[in-house]
C-alpha cells in the first residue's frame, strides 16, 4: 500500500500533527482534534469507497451510535476510556453488521439509498430518545478518563489521545488492506464476477469490511462526543455528516487512507473560514469541490504523493 518515498510524506504529516499543540492556542488544538476525529471517520468511509468500491451514504449512523454509546455510558458513570471507547467500537460494529448484512445484498445506487435509509432511521431513533434530550440532545457530565493517568479534560492531552488512536488505526488498516483480506476486497471492487469465479464469496468479505469500517466511525463518534461534551442527532446522526465524510474522502484521495485525513483537514478548514463569511458557505465550497474534481485527477493526497516522488 505504501509507495516508495510515501514514508517522507507520512513523516512530514506526522511531524505537523505532533507539533500542533506547540502553537499554543487551545483553539487550534481543539480544531486539530476535530480534524483527527473526522479524518478517522473519513478513513472508515475510504475502506469501503477506495478499497471495496462501496459508496456508503450512511456512515452518520455508526458515527452517531458511537457518540450516543459514549455519552450514555459516561453519564451513567462509566468513565474509563478503554471501556467507553471499546463499547462504542463494538456497538457500532454490531449495528454495521446488521445494516451491512441487508445493504450488501444490493449494489450500486440501491446500496447508496439503503445505507442512507438506515442512517435516517437511526436519526429518528435518536430524536425520539426523550430521556436523552430528543432533538436537542444532551450534555456529557465529563470526558472519559484513563485510570487517572491522563487527564483528557486537558485540550492537549485529549488531542494526543485522539492522534495516537488515529495512528494506530491507520497502521492496522494499512496492514489488513495489504494482507489477503484486503486483496479480496480490492478484487471484488475490480471485478465482481471474477472474484466469485476464483472462489471468494465476496459478500462475507464485504460484510466484515463494513463492520470494521462502522466500528472505526463509531470510535470517531465517541471521541467527538467527548470533545464537544455534547451529543445530539444534528451534527452526529444527520445525513449531511455521511455526505461530508464522502466529500472529505474524495477531496483527499480515495484508496489512500491518509488522503481522507488530509481531506478532512481541508474540508474543516474551509468550513471554518468560509462560514465566517456566510452561513451558506457550501455555496462557496461547492466550486472548490468542482475544481478539485476537474483539475486534480486523484485527489490532494495523490498530488502530494506525486510531488515527493519527483
Amino acid at each position: 500500500m505504501i509507495r516508495e518515498r510515501e514514508w517522507i510524506l507520512i513523516l512530514v504529516l506526522a511531524a505537523v500533527a505532533v507539533a500542533v499543540p506547540l502553537f499554543g492556542d487551545g483553539y487550534y488544538t481543539k480544531f486539530a482534534t476535530k480534524v483527527i476525529i473526522f479524518g478517522m471517520a473519513a478513513l472508515a468511509v475510504d475502506i469501503l469507497l477506495g478499497y471495496a468500491g462501496l459508496v456508503s451514504f450512511g456512515h452518520a449512523a455508526f458515527f452517531g451510535v458511537g457518540a450516543y454509546i459514549a455519552g450514555m455510558l459516561i453519564n451513567a458513570g462509566v468513565v474509563e476510556g478503554i471501556v467507553v471507547l471499546a463499547a462504542a467500537l463494538v456497538g457500532a460494529a454490531l449495528i454495521a453488521l446488521v445494516i451491512g448484512a441487508l445493504s450488501l445484498r444490493t449494489s450500486g445506487l440501491y446500496f447508496i439509498m439503503i445505507t442512507l435509509a438506515f442512517a435516517q432511521m437511526l436519526y429518528y431513533v435518536g430524536q425520539s430518545l426523550r430521556a436523552y434530550g430528543g432533538t436537542d440532545g444532551f450534555a456529557l457530565d465529563q470526558r472519559i478518563e484513563f485510570g487517572g493517568l491522563l487527564d483528557p479534560n486537558d485540550t492537549t492531552t485529549f488531542y494526543y489521545v485522539s492522534l495516537a488512536l488515529l495512528a494506530v488505526i491507520l497502521f492496522l488498516c494499512s496492514r489488513f488492506l495489504r494482507a489477503e483480506f484486503g486483496v479480496v476486497l480490492r478484487g471484488s471492487r475490480d471485478n465482481a464476477v471474477r472474484i466469485e469465479a476464483v472462489g471468494f464469496p465476496s459478500y462475507k468479505y464485504k460484510l466484515v469490511a463494513f463492520a470494521i469500517s462502522g466500528s472505526i466511525a463509531g470510535l470517531a463518534g465517541a471521541l467527538l462526543a467527548n470533545l464537544n461534551q455534547y451529543v445530539a442527532p444534528p451534527g452526529m446522526l444527520n445525513w449531511e455528516i455521511s455526505g461530508e465524510l464522502l466529500v472529505m474522502v474524495i477531496f483527499g484521495a480515495a484508496g489512500t487512507l491518509l488522503g481522507p485525513v488530509v481531506g478532512a483537514a481541508v474540508f474543516l478548514f474551509f468550513a471554518e473560514i468560509l462560514s465566517e463569511i456566510t452561513e451558506h458557505w457550501m455555496l462557496l465550497f461547492g466550486p472548490l469541490l468542482l475544481l478539485r474534481v476537474l483539475l486534480v485527477r486523484d485527489g490532494l493526497y495523490a498530488l502530494l504523493q506525486k510531488a515527493i516522488a519527483k
Binding site: R178, E180, D190, V193, R194, A197
Partner: protein, 258 residues
Amino acid sequence: MTPPPILRIEGLTKRYSGLVVTDDLSLEVEPNELHAIIGPNGAGKTTLIGQLAGQVMPDAGHVWFDGKDVAHASPPERARSGIARSFQITSIFPSFSTEANVAIAIQGRRRHSFRFWRPADRDPKLIDPARELLTSVGLGDRMQTPAAVLSHGEHRLLELAIALAQQPRLLLLDEPMAGLGSEESKELVTFLLTLKGRYTILLVEHDMDAVFALADRISVLAAGRIIATGTPEEIRVDQEVRTAYLGDEMPIAAEGER
C-alpha cells in the same frame, strides 16, 4: 472398464423469457478428456459454461461433478470444488498487476482469506507459483505491468493463467482464441496441447483448426441441443452436422473437400 465421467450433465434446461437457450441437454466428460463444444453464434455455448461454473442458474436438470450435483451451488462453491472457467470476454482484475491477478486466484485455493496481517504481495507461497505460471504462458516479462494495459493477446493469456492458477479438476475454456491473430492462435494451441491429458477440459471454440488439433471428442451444439458427439473424425464426416451447422465456408468442410 472406462472410468466414471467426472462431469455428467443431465437434462439441463435454461430459458430466457421463452427462448430456450439450453434445451434438455445431457453430456458426459471423462477424466482428462479434452472435450470441445462447437456451434454457431447464439447456440448457447457460453450459457452452458455459465451453468457449469455457476454464474447462470439452470431452470431444470443436474450437473454431476465428481458424483455431486452442483447445479445450484454458487460460483465460489464450485470454484472450491475444482471447477475453473475462462471468459469469452476477458474478465480480469484491471487495477492489479499481472502477477497479482494470478496470485489472487492461487489465494482462492486457500480455505479462506480472513487473514489480516501478513502482506499478501510478499507471500512466496502466492507469488512464486504465480510467476512460474505466468512464465509458462509467456507473460514472464509482464509480471509487474498493470493488467489493464496489457494487449488483447496478453489478456487472453492472463485469462487462461487465472483459471489454471486455481488448479482445477475441470477447466472450462470459453473461446480462448477469441480475437487472436493466426500466429497467436497457433502458439496457444501449442500451449493447450501441453495441458492435454493433465486436465479435464471443456473447450468452447470457433477456431476449427484449433478444435480439430486439440479435441479428443467434439460435441456440436445448435439451438441449445447437442446434435452430435464423437471423435473429430466422426464429426468431420457427420452429414447432419454438416447440413445443420458446418456450412461450406467452415474450414472443416473445406478440408474435407480438398
